[in-house]
Symmetry: C2
Subunit: 196 residues, 2 copies
Amino acid sequence: MAGRLTKLVDIRRKELRQAAFEVLQREGMAGATLEKVATHAGASKGIVLHYFRNKQELFEQAMREANASLRDAVAERLRRATTPRERLVAIIEGNFEERFFQPSIAHAWLSLCAEVPREPQLARIQAVIHSRMHSNLLSALVPMLGAQEGRCMALQVSSLIDGLWLRLGLQSGGLSRTEALELIHDFIDRRLSRDR
Amino acid sequence: MAGRLTKLVDIRRKELRQAAFEVLQREGMAGATLEKVATHAGASKGIVLHYFRNKQELFEQAMREANASLRDAVAERLRRATTPRERLVAIIEGNFEERFFQPSIAHAWLSLCAEVPREPQLARIQAVIHSRMHSNLLSALVPMLGAQEGRCMALQVSSLIDGLWLRLGLQSGGLSRTEALELIHDFIDRRLSRDR
DNA sequence: TCAATAATTGTCCCACTGGTCAATTAAATG
DNA sequence: CATTTAATTGACCAGTGGGACAATTATTGA
């Protein structure tokens, strides 16, 4: 274990980031007031602004944290994968893990994404997310398809994943996790087996 | 011509819906205040609430209006299409028409979508949109692939379209209209020509 | 021409929110 | 135990936004 005991500051920060993200799920960005976040975390409003400079910083870090979970989930699966094909599946299944792929979480993401055009900080995080997704996909697809087609399919897959997440958030057509996975697996299976 | 001259009420309503949508593009839902909408339309705040019960109703109708344009664009192209394949292309190209497929418009949609989980009215509109897209796609794909596969590909195409729109709004990777079209055409071309 | 109706404005109000700050309490440390 | 430091609270403030409404102006129509 590298350091010493976890400092209180870090504990509080984490709790508040978590609370912020959870309130965001129900209330959206406008409705997620500092008061509500504090109450949800079992503290007073003052404490929130004691640990975070302002509302933006709080939600920026909430986004960072939520993203980190997803990133780790995918990374963990990637670690276990050996072939390119397995890597591709790892990325996909990671992005659709049950604990993540839920309407309320999609709501929160949607709220954050809606702020991206006006919040450079959030835009940067979003850029990192997409960029990581893309390079992950390339590492799986280029060995199978070459640079040209690999890049093309990477964009298709990531757009498809985004689209399915969006539909989850909007809950139109009541898309289930299983259906989403079937859909995307159907896509890659057809695309990667030109021999049949 | 069916009726008499356009009533002032309808003119004002239309102007305000339009203004609301335009402010939404720049400011997002929280920033799109009644005052700003009024000013943008060249009127006073009072007038907005004279023609709309409240803010929700205004933006609900703004969403309806924006959706109607898109719907008509697709419908117009569908009218010209004869074969199923042409219908499919019509739907796609309609959804990526240059006047619609623009970042600022995607921003506005994103803001509206983010409210869907908490605004039943917006949710209903969203449901209609998805449902229309789906049945349009079915009318093109089922004749080509049968019910089973047609439905599957319809979901894939609509998710892909959604995903591309989302990326446009987030402007991650600076996706261009042309690239988006190439991507989705590549997808349907491969999927529909199993013989090669 | 004049009343009735519609359109438009500007003011006012209340609830609420982000943020500041002094005061209080708890923890740590010598 | 005493003193310094950190954690936490609650009161307060200024700004804002949605919405109500009375007052004013324009339009219509008999």
